[in-house]
C-alpha cells in the first residue's frame, strides 16, 4: 500500500507533475541540440537542485533524462546530426526519410515507439528488477570484453560500405578512446608528449566534429539545392503501422532493457544493437535499411528508451550506474542523504516506487511534447541552406566548447570535422568511429581485468570462455557475426540461395 502511495505521489502533487513536465520538455530540446548532452544538463541541474527536497529534484532530473534520450532523434532525422549518441542509429534511416519529405512521419513513429519502449523499460524495472540485476551480476570482465567486441563487430552491418573500411574506422575509434592517461596505471598513451593530449580527447568533440562539421561541409556541395518540403500532415502513425511493427518493437525493447541494465552500457549501445537486430530479422522492409526503412527507426528508438528503465535497475538495486546519467543521479541521491544500492530497496522502498511513478509520468509527457510542436521543428529543414549551414557550424562550436569550457575541444572538433569530411568522400563510415570511442574503455578495462584474473595465461582465458555458458554464448555470437559479414559467407550464401539482395535493393 505504501509502495502504491509512493508510486502515485507524482500524479497527485501538481508541483511534482509540473516539474516532471518541465524537465521532459527541456530534455526534448536539450537532447535535440547537438553538443548539449543530457549528462551535462543533469549535472548542471544538481547544482540548482542541491537545496531542494529530494522528490522535486529527482522529478526534474528524470524528466530531463527521459526527454533527452528521445530528443536526440529529432536532429538525427531532420539534419543527420544525432543530438545524442543514442540517436546515431536513428539518423541512418530517419535522415533519408526526411530527405524524401517524410520528416513528420519519421518523428511520429519515433515518438510513439520511444513511448512504447519507455514503458517496456519501466515495466521491467518495476516487475523484474531483482531478476535482471541478478543476471547482470553474473557478467564477468571477459563477458563485458566480449560484449564490447560484439559491439565493434556490428560495424559491418551498421553501414552499407566496405567491411574493411568499417573495421578500420572502428579500430580508429578505439585508438582515439585510448588517448590520454591510462586510468589504471596512469601511463601516457598516444600523447606524443603534448600537454593537450594528456587529458584525452572529448568524445563529444569527436562526435560533433564527425557528424556536425563534416555534414555541414558536405552540404556546401548542395548549397543551391532547395530544401525538401516536409509532409507533416500525418504525425500520429496509423494503428496498422504500429501493429505491424509491434513484434519488432517488443524484441528491440527487450534488447534495450537488457543492455541498459548492464553497467557501463547505455542507450547508445542498445540502439545500435537493436538496429543490427532489426536488419537481420526484417526480411522485406518497404525501403532498404539506410535508405529510410521504418524498421530502422522503430528498433533504435524503442531500445534507447527501454534502456532508460533498464539503466535504473543496477542503479537502484546495486548502486552501480547503468550509464552516465544514472551515475550523476547516484551523486544526486547521495547529496540528498540516500544510499542507492540493495539497502535503499529495503530501507526506502518508497523512493524506488516514486522513481517508477516519475518515469511513467515523464514517458506520458514525452509522448505529448513529441507529437506536438513538430511543425515548428520541421521548419528548420526548410531554412535556406546558406543560413542553416553556418548556423550548424556555429552550434557545433558552441556545443563542443560548452562540454568542458575548453578551446582545445573546439580544435579537436574542427580537426575531426575535416577528417570526417574526407572519410565521407572516400567511403569510410563514420558511425563505427564513434562506436569505437564509446566502447574503447569497456573493452580495454575488461580485457585487462579478465587476463589478470587468469594470471596472464591465454590458455586459461579461453578455457574460462568455453566453460562458462554465458561467455560461450557471447563468444559464439562474436564468431558468427564476424563470419556473416565476410565476402566468403556472402559468396557461400549466394551459391546456396541465389541472390536475394537484388530484390531487396529494388
Amino acid at each position: 500500500m505504501d509502495s502504491l502511495l509512493a508510486f502515485l505521489t507524482v500524479f497527485t502533487q501538481p508541483e511534482l507533475l509540473l516539474l516532471v513536465g518541465l524537465g521532459t520538455f527541456a530534455g526534448v530540446y536539450v537532447g535535440a541540440i547537438p553538443g548539449l548532452s543530457v549528462t551535462m544538463a543533469v549535472s548542471i541541474l544538481i547544482s540548482f537542485t542541491f537545496s531542494w527536497d529530494v522528490y522535486p529534484a529527482i522529478s526534474l532530473m528524470i524528466g530531463i533524462f527521459m526527454g533527452g534520450v528521445y530528443g536526440g532523434s529529432r536532429t538525427a532525422i531532420l539534419l543527420n546530426i544525432p543530438g545524442a549518441p543514442s540517436a546515431i542509429a536513428t539518423a541512418l534511416d530517419g535522415y533519408p526519410m526526411a530527405q524524401r519529405g517524410e520528416a513528420g512521419t519519421a518523428i511520429g513513429i519515433t515518438t510513439v515507439m520511444s513511448f512504447f519502449g519507455g514503458f517496456i523499460g519501466i515495466a521491467v524495472l518495476a516487475l523484474a528488477a531483482p531478476v535482471v540485476s541478478d543476471f547482470a551480476l553474473k557478467f564477468q570482465p571477459r563477458d563485458y570484453m566480449l560484449l564490447a567486441v560484439l559491439g565493434i563487430l556490428l560495424v559491418g552491418s551498421l553501414s552499407t560500405g566496405s567491411l574493411v573500411k568499417g573495421i578500420f574506422a572502428g579500430a580508429l575509434g578505439i585508438a582515439i578512446g585510448a588517448v590520454g592517461r591510462d586510468p589504471l596505471t596512469f601511463t601516457e598513451r598516444f600523447t606524443f608528449d603534448l600537454p593537450i593530449m594528456q587529458g584525452g580527447i572529448s568524445f563529444i568533440a569527436v562526435m560533433i566534429g564527425m557528424f556536425g562539421v563534416s555534414e555541414a561541409l558536405m552540404q556546401l556541395h548542395h548549397v543551391d539545392k532547395t530544401a525538401v518540403r516536409q509532409k507533416i500532415t500525418r504525425i500520429v502513425p496509423s494503428f496498422g503501422t504500429i501493429r505491424k511493427h509491434l513484434p519488432l518493437s517488443l524484441q528491440t525493447s527487450t534488447i534495450g532493457v537488457i543492455i541498459g541494465a548492464l553497467p557501463g552500457t547505455g542507450g547508445d549501445i542498445a540502439a545500435l544493437m537493436a538496429y543490427d537486430h532489426a536488419k537481420r530479422v526484417t526480411k522485406k522492409p518497404e525501403y532498404p535499411f539506410g535508405k529510410g526503412a521504418i524498421e530502422g527507426l522503430v528498433a533504435p528508438e524503442t531500445a534507447n528508451n527501454a534502456a532508460v528503465g533498464g539503466a535504473f535497475i543496477p542503479m537502484m538495486t546495486l548502486g552501480i550506474p547503468g550509464d552516465a546519467v544514472t551515475a550523476i543521479m547516484i551523486g544526486a541521491l547521495f547529496i540528498h542523504g540516500l544510499n542507492p544500492g540493495p539497502m535503499l530497496m529495503i530501507e526506502k522502498p518508497d523512493m524506488f516506487w516514486f522513481i517508477v511513478g516519475a518515469l511513467v509520468m515523464a514517458n506520458f509527457f514525452m509522448l505529448l511534447f513529441g507529437l506536438t510542436g513538430i511543425k515548428l521543428f520541421t521548419k528548420i529543414v526548410e531554412m535556406p541552406r546558406a543560413v542553416l549551414i553556418p548556423l550548424i557550424m556555429l552550434l557545433s562550436i558552441v556545443g563542443a566548447y560548452a562540454v568542458n569550457n575548453a578551446i582545445s575541444d573546439v580544435y579537436w572538433m574542427l580537426g575531426f570535422g575535416f577528417f570526417g569530411y574526407f572519410m565521407r568522400h572516400y567511403g569510410y563510415p563514420l558511425g563505427p568511429v564513434i562506436l569505437g570511442v564509446i566502447l574503447s574503455r569497456l573493452l580495454d578495462d575488461n580485457w585487462r581485468r579478465a587476463i589478470i584474473s587468469e594470471r596472464e595465461d591465454l590458455g586459461r582465458f579461453f578455457h574460462g570462455i568455453v566453460t562458462s555458458p554465458l561467455s560461450l554464448v557471447l563468444f559464439i555470437a562474436v564468431i558468427l557475426i564476424f563470419v556473416s559479414q565476410t565476402p566468403f559467407w556472402a559468396r557461400a550464401k549466394k551459391k546456396l540461395l541465389g541472390d536475394p539482395a537484388e530484390k531487396v535493393e529494388q
Binding site: A171, A178, R189, G290, A386, P390, A402, R424, L430, R448
Partner: protein, 187 residues
Amino acid sequence: MSRIETEHHDGTSDATPGGYEGQRRPGELVFGAVMVIASLVLLWSAYGISGFEALSAPGSVPMATTAVMVVTSLVIFLRDLRLPRVSGETVAKDILPGNVLIVALMLVAYGFLLKPLGFLPTSALFLIAAIKLLGGRGWFWTVGVALGALLLIWIVFRIVFTVLMPAGIVPEAEVIQAFRNLFAGGQ
C-alpha cells in the same frame, strides 16, 4: 557487401558512405596512403607505451587496435591501387571546391580568434561572412539574419543554459549585470 547508392557517392548519409564501388575517386589514393602512414606511426607509438611487457599492460589494447588499423589500411590502399579512376571528377571540382576550402579556412580562423576576440564578435564575423558567401544576398538581409540568429543563440546558451563562452573584448558580464540592475529597478 551491398552496393553503394550512386546519388550518395559523396557520403551525405553515413548509412550510405561515399565513394564508388569498383572505382577510385580523385585523391583517394593519397588519403589511403596517409592512413597507412598514420596507422604505422600509431602502432609505433602504441609499442612505445609498454612494448610486449604483459598481456594486461596498458599498451596491449592500443597495440592490437593499431595493428588492425595497419592491416586494414594496407588492404584498402592496395585495393585502391588496382582500381580505375572515376572519369570526369577532379579534386578541385568534386572533393575540395572553392566554397568548401574558404569555409574550412573561416572555421580555422574562428577557432583561433574565439579566445582573444570573444564569442560574440567572432561569431558575428563568421556568420556574416559565411551567409554572404553562400547566400549571395544583399548586405542588409545578410547582416540582419546573421545578427538575429546570433542573438537567439546567445540568449539560449548564455542566459538559459548559462554556458560561458569566451568574452574577449566584449564586457559581457557587465552588460548582463546592467540588464539585471535595470529589471531590478536600479537597486
